[in-house]
Subunit: 551 residues, 2 copies
Amino acid sequence: MSQKSIRIIPLGGVEEIGKNLTVFEYEDDIIIVDCGTMFPSEDMPGVDLVLPDAAYLYKNADRIRGLFITHGHEDHIGAIPYILRNFVCPVYATELTKALIEFKLKEHMMDDKVKVTCVEPGDRVKAGCFTVEYIHTNHSFAGAAALAIHTPVGVIVHTGDFKIDFTPVDGGPCDLNRFAELGSKGVLALMSDSTNVLRPGYTMSEVTVGKSMEQYFNDAQGRKRIIIATFSSNIHRIQQIIDCAGRHDRKVCICGRSMTNICSIAVKIGKLNLPESMTVDVSNLKSVPPEKLVVITTGSQGEPMSGLSRMANDTHDRLKVGPNDMVIISATPIPGNEKMVSRTINSLCKKGCVVVYEDVHVSGHACKEELKLILSLTKPKYFIPVHGEYRHLMEHAMLAESLKIPHENVFIPAIGTVIELNKSKGKMKETVPSGEILVDGSGIGDVGNVVLRDRRLLAMDGLVIVIITMAAEEGVMLADPDVVSRGFVYMKESEVMISEVKRMVAEYVEGADLSDRDWNALKAGIKSMVHEYLWQQTKRSPMILPVIVEV
Amino acid sequence: MSQKSIRIIPLGGVEEIGKNLTVFEYEDDIIIVDCGTMFPSEDMPGVDLVLPDAAYLYKNADRIRGLFITHGHEDHIGAIPYILRNFVCPVYATELTKALIEFKLKEHMMDDKVKVTCVEPGDRVKAGCFTVEYIHTNHSFAGAAALAIHTPVGVIVHTGDFKIDFTPVDGGPCDLNRFAELGSKGVLALMSDSTNVLRPGYTMSEVTVGKSMEQYFNDAQGRKRIIIATFSSNIHRIQQIIDCAGRHDRKVCICGRSMTNICSIAVKIGKLNLPESMTVDVSNLKSVPPEKLVVITTGSQGEPMSGLSRMANDTHDRLKVGPNDMVIISATPIPGNEKMVSRTINSLCKKGCVVVYEDVHVSGHACKEELKLILSLTKPKYFIPVHGEYRHLMEHAMLAESLKIPHENVFIPAIGTVIELNKSKGKMKETVPSGEILVDGSGIGDVGNVVLRDRRLLAMDGLVIVIITMAAEEGVMLADPDVVSRGFVYMKESEVMISEVKRMVAEYVEGADLSDRDWNALKAGIKSMVHEYLWQQTKRSPMILPVIVEV
């Protein structure tokens, strides 16, 4: 008799870093781990966000027993307001994560609909046949957790995003003992963060950043204002900056929308200690001498609308920077953002700021030796690398095999792949419907391949609209063809070429057999003729849009 | 009596890495150093190339005595076929550089018009009042040179792009002795490569790459085909690969358009030693067992149309890659290309290739200690950092000051800034007309800010065209308004919204006072009304294009 199996289906977060969402199902019960978004890639112009396609969940909505969030970064919580429009289930998260989710739900006017329950490390939550246990880890987010998912066929450990910090700023080191206990009792499968698997050794402790900051504060002592850009969700980093400011008798100004939002939430729930007496509002900066001030702001990735970019570009309404400022960029560029960060640094340097970006950041993700440690402690039967591009997943798989996990027990899933596991065997099965859903403005999923292809085409060479006015009955032109263009050439300097287009279109229409009033054929003919002429003239391929007006 | 001065005007290559072009003028004589292009930035969709604006040269064409090229990279020679359309002057370059320029001129059918003269290190060329001396350096290009420009007011040393390689693959180490001699006799000004000024220490020798290659060839021995992507212009790198292939009894296949072009030029002039007997044509790969083959190809930057990208994406017509391939990416991503390179690596890994990119590349640019050495040897009175973004120039300036060059003798120019120097004083003066000229297809300079702004707008949210047909005389609508859209929403799923646009436009036109037939006012009204409605419906701002057809 074949054993029943648990099915694990990543709907995002594999072969990519972003939009994490994993489905666990056993018989009639489904639980979900994380529900995140991803930034659009550069071939998705105008798109604001990318969501995992959760059609599989919508179809099985009545079986969903809970959504378990490992921590509050956007790639783990960002899709909640979009996906939880389509079904109702309880959501579980640790304290700061819960607060951020609730803030987000409020923004989407969904706070009435979705209930988030606070869990502490060590807590166990029953959800159908599953019991989900939260385990304390370290990460660049306060209150990150791994999950031990107790299922009828064994325990599955999901690390979430993690590193091992023996001297964290707050909350104690990653609960290695619990990983060890689970390993000793037997872990069916381990799913582990692959982000930093290509990096040898260990990730440095967060406190090392505090030590560098202290040094830079000493350098700036009595002379310069200090402006620090970092990730708004890294509360421990922000706490270290505040503590440093306190020691150096500087006031703190929190600046930038997301920085202000997250800090005020964190202060409210007691996760960030920022005494009222130390703070200065951005509207009141003049009340404090610059050398007695630290500004904490967004923009560590060079994002165009962020606090730091606006300071660099002189478009910040409250803050002008110059030779009396030391700017600390406490982050490394996320791949793809290198040029934007460079641009910001160059602009700040030109204004005379001292710009510092060495030794003021550590990663939130485990490196190779830490990953080996977790593999060794948990001794899983099966291993599934997650949270990485393909090359990260592959390297992590090879790492697991080097620690004697048999090759056939290591699975590298694609998005939508079903992995079926039980005590005696595991395999990759079919793929469920899955993919990406694009959010643009208030539209969810109404921008797809056709719209994006058009946007990319329009961006490359612009467009040329050819308007032909026809008498509906007689099939003759009522006016000369008109040509409108945008993003193609300077029209004023191209009058000869545009006149020639009008002339050739008129000639073409007059010579065409329009007895069957086949406007589509007429359009296609005009399109290819104009396309060819403009290519020959300019070596460009603008989009040609023939429009026929029937009067 | 005030001394006459030399004027140095960078028209490109400062506050940016790319499109190097520097003007030197003394009384009636002008010489130019380098004439390069730059890749368009991501906010220039559809643009193929960026040139320096050389209007200043066109105005002074009769005074130009020569163009001196330091080496044959695109950012030093790419603009020659564009800029030398507008004036005639002799061009000087070392052997491989000359061959590449001539190839380029031929492609542009300008080989009759422009004459390139070959110079050797040590040669001196007289050009008006200037004498330009070529000095051998090391770089990722065979035959790179620094220039000692002997002028009536003193010697100006321009390093070009350089590093100091004591064990180069060919051509001997950088001629430090000549730099020292010039320094002992007195150098008026040094202009030096700032690319790697932020990196401490020394750049590794090119031969270290050969040693790593050897190791990887050993690993692959008898088992795997080896595919190596690198820069086609790095002849020394390619020579090392060929030599390695020879030692390991492998044949060499040169693959990719620019790789084939440059290699065949280099072989022809004797700069690359690739015995006929060792080569295999890409059309004939089946004739050699894979484990006896090395493929050298383009695509080290993940460029979509390159050899390696096509192999990774299964669109290469001659070469399929898989588990029997070791792919060596012998380059580091140029800032901005990180994501494209990652994508290529992921695709290759998914196909089962072993992908190697560690220790198989060294930079072609000098690091901090090398830059100090050149500053120390040449002992210039004035220092002008070049070839770098602002932060590089600033760091290099600070480095020079740390070596006791007085602050007032260090100049950080912007593009177009005139630096005036003589033996007693130096200063930054006015700015000459300068900037960037965009090449798109066959058009040079006909794409500018307006066209680019339209392309960016079109890319973000697409466009909506509203067509209104009016009777020219009576000022009444002759047909219902029509709406055409691209890149905005799926039209089929947005019928209600589009109908509403048609309805509101019809209502608006019917209610408008058209007695003065002020179509512009009518268009503006329609535009803002439709914009507002669509924003409220979708939170998107497509470009709205009202078109009025008069019959």
